[in-house]
């Protein structure tokens, strides 16, 4: 059985649903799922107070989020398996710290999509905000593994401090793509802003136009750097 959530009413302040992941809701009864706790602003509420919860025929460990979830934060935080399908937009921190499984967003994602994720696959048909696959403030590393696929555009700081894994953006990306990244791959099919700054390792490919800081050095048609960091990162353009 799959579990389906949809909002009862439009949200005023955001709801934070960390903990509501496929491996937790899977196998539970409707009542059990409805009584799981989430944060609605400063109030702890039951999941069933905010969402219509239903069980549907479908894959085991599938969580379907129907409608506009743009004020729903931390969806799929740290999830370790199963699938989440969002039929609409989703709020910040979707898939942050994810350890496995799949998230598909049929809409737009917000900031911190897949931030510090370790494993798993995130696919977004629309755009994502800033800090996709990035590190939180103060953290040493961003994304450490897994894949993020964006059919639309990415905001700024895509893959900041990324260590391993793969990010593909079909559209454009903002400034500071791969800032301080140390490993992994980023592919951008469109254009990007400042790219490869403070890079230590890893590889960024930009098919369209991009802007490189002067601290990347051209070598055999590629750009290597950031030389101020003694970096061995590679940016491939065009």
């Amino acid at each position: 059985m799959a579990v389906k959530l949809s909002l009862k009413t439009e949200l005023d302040v955001p709801v934070e649903v960390d903990g509501i992941v496929p491996s937790v809701v899977g196998g539970k009864t409707l009542e059990e799922i409805q009584s799981l706790e989430v944060y609605h602003g400063n109030r702890v509420v039951k999941l069933g107070e905010i969402f219509n919860v239903s069980l549907e025929e479908g894959e085991e460990n599938l969580l379907i989020c129907e409608g506009d979830f743009s004020k729903v934060k931390w969806l799929g935080k740290g999830m370790d398996g199963g699938k989440i399908l969002v039929r609409g937009n989703v709020g910040p921190h979707c898939g942050a710290f994810m350890k496995g499984g799949e998230i598909t967003v049929e809409g737009h994602a917000d900031d911190y999509l897949g931030a510090e994720m370790v494993e798993g696959v995130i696919t977004v048909t629309g755009n994502a905000g800033s800090y996709t696959g990035a590190a939180y403030h103060g953290s040493m590393n961003g994304m450490k593994g897994g894949k993020i696929l964006l059919e639309g555009n990415a905001g700024s700081y895509l893959g900041e401090k990324m260590k391993e894994g793969y990010i593909e953006v079909r559209g454009n990306a903002g400034d500071f793509v791969g800032y301080k990244m140390s490993g992994g791959k980023i592919v951008i099919l469109g254009d990007s802003g400042i790219t490869g700054a403070a890079m230590k390792g890893g590889e960024i490919t930009v098919k369209g136009k991009c802007e490189l800081p002067p601290s990347l050095k051209e070598e055999d048609g590629k750009y290597v750097g950031d030389i101020l960091e003694g970096g061995k990162g590679v940016v491939i353009t065009g």
Partner: protein, 424 residues
């Protein structure tokens, strides 16, 4: 006639503490202030009495209504703080924590990128007296103190007679900016850079310092490399240099990355000579508005308490973002005017939620406010502690009695009212 010496000016981050105030039957007059400071001590329209929905009420009624609004909110935003005293801010932070709300201050729209940069790389700084006594090289980057901090050049940086540096002639002054400012007029050198090129130019300077200038193109973002080589040479050869930067660096493309890059440049310069970097902070206590919550709860701004402890996330909890996202359901605005200063899309949400304002003066935000609570003027009618832009604590004195409660008194009462409504 009363004459008061060494009074402190509560306009900008300079917090000049040599203001002379004369009080006679004609009113208050001042000496030693700059134009901005002079203006600060003049009489301005006041919020005359506490109001709820435009109706005059008592302080107690206004505070009670405010407390009820806040207690009934799921995510109240408590914003402002840069133009009040530490003692009031401490109550504000306690209130935000108690309510499970959000604390943010005006730095989130000016020098927050400096905080983010400091989180990444630290910051080698000094007090202003160190600059005055030792700096033989001053670089003003993206800041215009002659207009924004008018007495900074005379008291702390360009002109004063320092212990080891005898005065203006012994200092080399460089202005780096996108346009020729009034500060550029008093500088020895003006380097014009194109808007939004800071990151690349600072990167090029770091490369020059690291001996990698051969890897540079002839010009970086339109600035000839040789000009940057000459600037870096001056920096390396200074005995004590100071890079003083402003919103031109923090609020242009690159933001915190610009600042981080500039801090790295200064850190690297310390292997060659002594160099410090200092943000030119705006409001007279915006530093306190960062420092107080930092010791109270661990973070300086953009703090959410909905889980009972502090979480820092500027992309969600800074004033611009939380309003743009329509994520808060009420707002307490203290000594600030977000309606005048924030982007229109953020201000729009203020019209849709109950707003409580604590301020001596009516402003644009007053129009949005359901509850308006007048306060006394800090540094004139109320005492308290503020931090100068370099973190030096300054105790403000009062020299006038006021019929209004101080920010500190209002917030203390509001805090206790909230505790009463919520229970300990």
């Amino acid at each position: 006639m009363r004459v008061l010496y060494d009074m402190k000016c509560t306009f900008c981050g300079n917090v000049c503490d040599d203001i002379l105030i004369q009080i006679d039957e004609d009113g208050v007059s001042t000496k030693n202030t700059c134009k901005l400071g002079y203006h600060k001590f003049l009489d301005h329209p006041r919020i005359e009495f506490p109001q709820v929905d435009g109706q005059k009420v008592s302080y107690d009624e206004a505070i009670e209504t405010a407390a009820e609004i806040l207690v009934n909110s799921k995510k109240p935003l408590l914003y402002g703080w840069a133009s009040t005293v530490n003692e009031a801010i401490a109550y504000g932070v306690a209130l935000a924590e108690k309510l499970g709300g959000v604390y943010d201050n005006t730095s989130s729209v000016c020098h927050a990128p400096s905080t983010l940069a400091t989180q990444e790389t630290g910051i080698p700084a000094s007090t202003l007296g160190q600059v005055k006594n030792r700096a033989d090289l001053l670089i003003f980057w993206g800041c215009n103190p002659m207009s924004a901090h008018p007495r900074h050049p005379t008291r702390y940086s360009v002109f004063p007679r320092g212990f080891f540096v005898e005065g203006r002639r012994k200092r080399h002054v460089v202005v780096v900016d996108v346009r020729k400012t009034r500060t550029a007029n008093i500088a020895d050198e003006f380097i014009q850079i194109p808007p939004n090129s800071d990151y690349h130019i600072i990167t090029a300077m770091r490369m020059i310092l690291a001996g990698k200038e051969d890897d540079l193109p002839n010009s970086v973002a339109g600035v000839p490399a040789e000009k940057l080589v000459s600037l870096v040479d001056k920096m390396r050869n200074a005995r004590f240099g100071a890079l003083l930067y402003g919103l031109g660096m923090t609020q242009s493309r690159g933001r915190n990355k610009n600042v981080e890059n500039a801090i790295r440049l200064v850190q690297e310069l310390n292997s060659h000579t002594r160099f410090v970097i200092q943000p030119m902070r705006g409001h007279f206590n915006v530093v306190g508005a960062d420092q107080v919550p930092t010791w109270e709860v661990g973070f300086p701004y953009a703090i959410d308490f909905s889980r009972g402890y502090a979480r820092f996330s500027p992309g969600e909890f800074s004033v611009t973002e939380i309003l743009r996202r329509k994520d808060c359901d009420s707002a307490l605005v203290v000594s600030s005017d977000p309606a005048a200063h924030l982007p229109a899309r953020s201000v729009k949400h203020l019209a849709d939620i109950p707003v409580i304002q604590i301020d001596p003066h009516p402003n644009l935000t007053t129009r949005f406010a359901k509850v308006v609570i007048p306060s006394s003027l800090v540094g004139i009618e109320a005492e308290g502690t503020v931090y100068r832009m370099d973190g030096i604590p300054m105790r403000l004195k009062k020299f006038k009695e006021s019929e209004y409660l101080s920010d500190e008194e209002i917030l203390e009462r509001l805090y206790h009212k909230v505790v009463e409504l919520m229970g300990a």
